[in-house]
């Protein structure tokens, strides 16, 4: 099979302006993945499926990843003008000062697709797509029209992560009930408070049981009790 670099080159040759990025996997498996621009995703998917040499005709797995907002602290060297007394004379001297800067990198939701070829007996090729953020711009193009096996798996990702797949033929919740509002696999999901009884509570379970007890008695601080529900 082609290497990831070769696949990237092939995609960029076939789909103009595709903008594929390689996400290296440092682990021994070295299963590098391709980050795909959602705007070109359908064209890229069709190319990967129909290309004679790749022939990735089987979508084996779709999954989601939730990446929270990341606070990045970095040390930057900044030139600054400082007034100093040099040899008894006050002068303005240019100096480089080290400064710590913080900025928040917005989080996003990610859909990961594992592709195999039944015809050529090779794979997997891993492609990923990222949403713009985690709150309101969570749309990604559905690849179900290209690989039919993605239908239920994309529904599951929609259910548990809240990625809205545009172009999906039947996007409903798969595992949770339709009235359910949360997305349980997101990292900031607050579990329902139904932990009142635990005969052998310990560690985190004990904390939750205690928090529940505080809430039940109306004495506990809601913030402290770990959640709003």
């Amino acid at each position: 099979m082609k290497t990831v670099e070769e696949i990237k080159a092939a995609i960029e040759a076939a789909v103009p302006g595709a903008g594929v990025e390689i996400l290296p996997n440092a682990s021994p498996s070295a299963q590098h993945s391709l980050l795909v621009n959602p705007a070109h995703a359908i064209a890229i998917a069709k190319f990967l499926r129909d290309d004679a040499e790749l022939a990735l005709d089987f979508l084996s797995n779709v999954t989601g990843v939730d990446w929270l907002d990341k606070e990045i602290v970095e040390k930057v060297k900044v030139p600054r003008q400082v007034s100093k007394t040099v040899d008894g004379v006050e002068q303005i001297v240019e100096e480089t000062v080290e400064e710590t800067r913080k900025h928040v990198e917005p989080g996003y939701l990610e859909a990961v697709y594992h592709l195999f070829s039944m015809k050529k007996k090779h794979g997997p090729v891993v492609i990923r797509m990222r949403t713009a953020n985690r709150t309101d711009k969570v749309e990604l193009p559905s690849l179900t029209p290209v690989w039919r096996s993605g239908e239920f798996q994309e529904r599951e990702v929609f259910d548990l992560y809240g990625i809205v797949f545009t172009g999906h033929p039947d996007l409903r919740r798969l595992l949770m009930w339709p009235e359910f509002k949360d997305h349980p696999m997101r990292k900031d999901y607050v579990e329902p408070d139904d932990f009142e009884y635990e005969p052998t509570a310990h560690d985190k379970v004990l904390e939750r049981a205690k928090a529940h007890k505080d809430r039940e008695q109306g004495t506990g601080n809601r913030e402290q009790a770990g959640g709003t529900r």
């Binding site: 595992l175 949770m176 009930w177 009235e179 359910f180 509002k181 949360d182 349980p184 999901y189 579990e191 329902p192 408070d193 139904d194 932990f195 009142e196 009884y197 635990e198 005969p199 509570a201 379970v205 004990l206 049981a209 205690k210 529940h212 007890k213 529900r229």
Partner: protein
């Protein structure tokens, strides 16, 4: 009547009994379970009905496919929050007298999935359970033991008096509220009339 006298009369060919005994004997000897399974415990339940363990010995071989014809509900497996309303509704549809065996760790408490967001932490939060069986899954012998325990329970029920069973009490209702599937959890998360306040957390 004294037991010895009863045996003596039996030797003479005279059979003496009470209405209560006869009534309970009839009920305990033909408990018809409902045919439904929820998870892996159901496989053990099926094994119990097959030739090796043979639940027919206890008069319970007829698994009815309709709740209207059944009087024992074996909750065999994990009850998810998505499934819980349907389980309660099936229980409501059963005719009195009706009994419940909660089979396995999941059905009695949520079991290994107790920390999860999607599993009900014991079906006894919504409907009264007569016999709990621990185990993951319980062996067929355990289900037979539970069944015999239920038979003993039926046998001991008195037809009159304050402690008579629910189906002989015109005021007692055999229907239990079906929980709604809310935005975050089942509403209400527990029926306090069935599941009283649990032990205090220390």
């Amino acid at each position: 009547m004294e037991n010895e006298l009863k045996i003596e009369l039996g030797k003479q060919g005279v059979f003496v009994t009470t209405i209560e005994e006869l009534y309970n004997w009839g009920r305990k000897s033909s408990v018809w379970p409902m045919q439904f399974g929820l998870a892996c415990c159901a496989i053990e339940m099926i094994a119990t009905t097959m030739a090796r363990y043979d639940m027919a010995r206890f008069g319970a071989e007829v698994f009815r496919p309709s709740p209207r014809q059944a009087d024992l509900m074996i909750i065999s497996g994990t009850v998810t929050k998505k499934m819980a309303p349907q389980v309660v509704r099936l229980y409501n549809q059963m005719a009195e007298p009706k009994y419940v065996i909660a089979m396995g760790a999941c059905a009695i408490s949520g079991g290994p999935f107790k920390q999860g967001y999607n599993v009900l932490k014991g079906i006894d939060r919504y409907i009264p359970v007569d016999v709990h069986i621990p185990g993951c899954p319980p062996r067929p012998e355990a289900l037979l033991q539970a069944f015999m325990t239920l038979q003993k329970k039926i046998e001991a029920q008195s037809l009159t008096g304050e402690d008579r069973p629910r189906h002989l009490n015109a005021e007692a209702s055999g229907e239990f509220p079906v929980p709604e599937q809310g935005e975050h959890d089942l509403e209400p998360p527990v029926n306090r009339l069935v599941w009283p306040l649990p032990a205090q957390v220390k």
